[in-house]
Symmetry: C2
Subunit: 348 residues, 2 copies
């Protein structure tokens, strides 16, 4: 059976005050569609398996939000992290849980806050990846055909095609590149953006963690003994925070030899910056992108405005600015300075 693991523990600090540590981006209707990012994520995967096979790993502080936004998700499928430990412990926790329920599970792991424009194409790609991993020791990471020399994403250097394709071996993973390097990647033609979506069967991922990060696997084995018992929450609370903070990329992907990628071309974005959100939203004649019903612009150009909850917003004479209002919190910042928002909010 297919299972979907949704990682929803991020705090989205780059998007304050649309996203706050109390109510981060994955739970926000970022695009003004009437659905939050995590709701759109679930919808995207919905045809692949029943709701009982969806798993959401999140901070214990967000469990109530997940329940509210995904009312059809069984409560036992919400896995609460007592502490943030990066993606490897997060994914291991979910996979050890799934293995206990379904030792033949075929699994997709996905972020909760990315955007896909062509959902049908996306489902086809994921379906192919799942076909490929249903048996055998294979890990697939979904690659995105790059459309611009983006410096905000990691890249995948692809190797030999697997049979007739489109799946191919991963040659190597590359960190977020400088602009010049990104341009070379684009020209070379064999580089894909790393979407952080992984596909594998449950045997492969648990074995891989055992081989390449035995310490993490050992802690998961301890936790797993308590799964389904009255002690589960207590043991997770004790053991999970002792796991090393480590990404799945570093813990497994960069070490295992059986890593593959499938190129996708379905309009993907991690919606990681206000600038990327601006490109995803419709614009008025002056290049303004607005989310919110009650926003009026006068002589504004190139702005992004996010104020869906505001009762009335009137702006005049702003250029290339971010304007965000949420629950009495307000940010106005030049788009060119958006990487400093974290610092502004932390008072640095």
């Amino acid at each position: 059976m297919n299972h979907i693991v949704i990682m929803a523990g991020g705090i989205g600090s780059r998007f304050w005050p649309m996203s706050t540590p109390e109510f981060p981006k994955q739970f926000v209707d970022v695009l003004g569609t009437g659905k939050t990012m995590i709701q759109m994520t679930v919808e995207r995967f919905a045809p692949l398996c029943p709701m009982d096979n969806f798993w959401v790993v999140t901070s214990k502080d967000y469990v109530h939000i997940v329940k509210q936004q995904l009312p059809h998700l069984p409560e036992g499928n919400i896995l609460a992290e007592p502490a943030m430990r990066n993606t490897a412990p997060c994914i291991a926790y979910a996979c050890w849980k799934i293995r206990q329920k379904d030792p033949y599970a075929n699994v997709v792991v996905t972020p909760s806050d990315a955007l896909v424009l062509d959902v049908n194409e996306f489902r086809k790609v994921i379906g192919r990846a799942l076909d490929f991993t249903v048996s055998g020791q294979r890990i697939v990471t979904v690659g995105i055909k790059p459309t611009r020399p983006e410096t905000g994403y990691g890249y995948i250097a692809t190797g030999a095609l697997e049979g007739d394709g489109p799946i191919c071996k991963v040659d190597s993973f590359r960190e977020k590149p400088a602009l010049e390097v990104a341009k070379e990647y684009l020209k070379a033609g064999n580089y894909l953006w790393n979407a952080g979506i992984f596909v594998w069967n449950i045997d492969t991922i648990t074995e891989s963690v055992k081989v390449y990060n035995p310490d993490l696997a050992a802690r998961m084995d301890v936790m797993a003994q308590a799964f389904g018992t009255a002690d589960e929450a207590k043991v997770v609370e004790e053991v999970f925070p002792t796991c090393e903070k480590i990404s799945i990329d570093y813990a497994v992907m960069e070490k295992a030899p059986y890593i593959y990628t499938i190129p996708g071309d379905f309009g993907w974005s991690d919606v990681g910056t206000w600038g990327s959100l601006w490109t995803l939203l419709p614009h008025d004649a002056h290049g303004n992108a607005v989310v919110g019903e009650n926003v009026r612009l006068n002589e504004c150009r190139g702005c992004i405005v996010h104020a869906p909850g505001a009762s009335s917003v009137v702006l005049q004479g702003l250029e290339d600015c971010i304007v965000v209002e949420r629950n009495g919190r307000l940010l106005i910042c030049r788009l060119s300075e958006e990487q400093r928002i974290k610092d502004f909010v932390n008072g640095r």
Copy 2:
């Protein structure tokens, strides 16, 4: 006995959203002092008479706000206008009421939303004016010694000194002048700003209305027959809206021959524009004026920020802008365009 009439019916549309038709400027803590404009106005006059002699004329929609902000004011001293009819009907209503209670009243009429910096000096000036009007047919309008060629105020051309002064006859009233004219007024030396504060005894003002606007006086006489009866509210509701919309300046001041002025030098402002508010507030090293505890500025210059109720405001890279947040309403506008705020809000 002295009586104070506070006119508090304005809707303050130039200051949206700090001031809204539901909760206008006079009821707002504009300066961030912890007191609203009307509370500061009452405090300014407090030593001149007991609270029983204060009268607030306001829209019926604002009566509940007046009760809340001035809990010691007798309820019967809140006069509710069923409709806005400019200052002459407003003042006549209050003075006809006062006459019934105290036929020897000596009266000050004042706006509810102006600012006085030197309150002691202000009280001295008002005290002198009251001494001057306690007997005899004399109307005093308070003049402000101009400190700049302001084009936002009406001016008073002063005539001959009355005795040793400082009170003098009013030669004429002048509308808001063009800048060049205002400069000439300043050079001439005998021009004062018109603060819209009037002092007279009750006999003088009621007689003046009778002589110079008999229609208004007749309607007030009809209303007065119902004062103190069970029908009072009903009759006011019927008669008051039939009064002509006319200012006290036009109805009386520009016609009666016994108009005097007393020059005041106590730091006065009608706080009529964001620009004037900016000049009244303290500034940081970059010329920003901020009302609100939770406001952080980064690379902002010459801005005025009013967001006392916001839980967190972060601004970056704004110059010469007005930024206002109140109850989920937001305005950002260049200071140079502030006269257009009314239009923005009305969707023109």
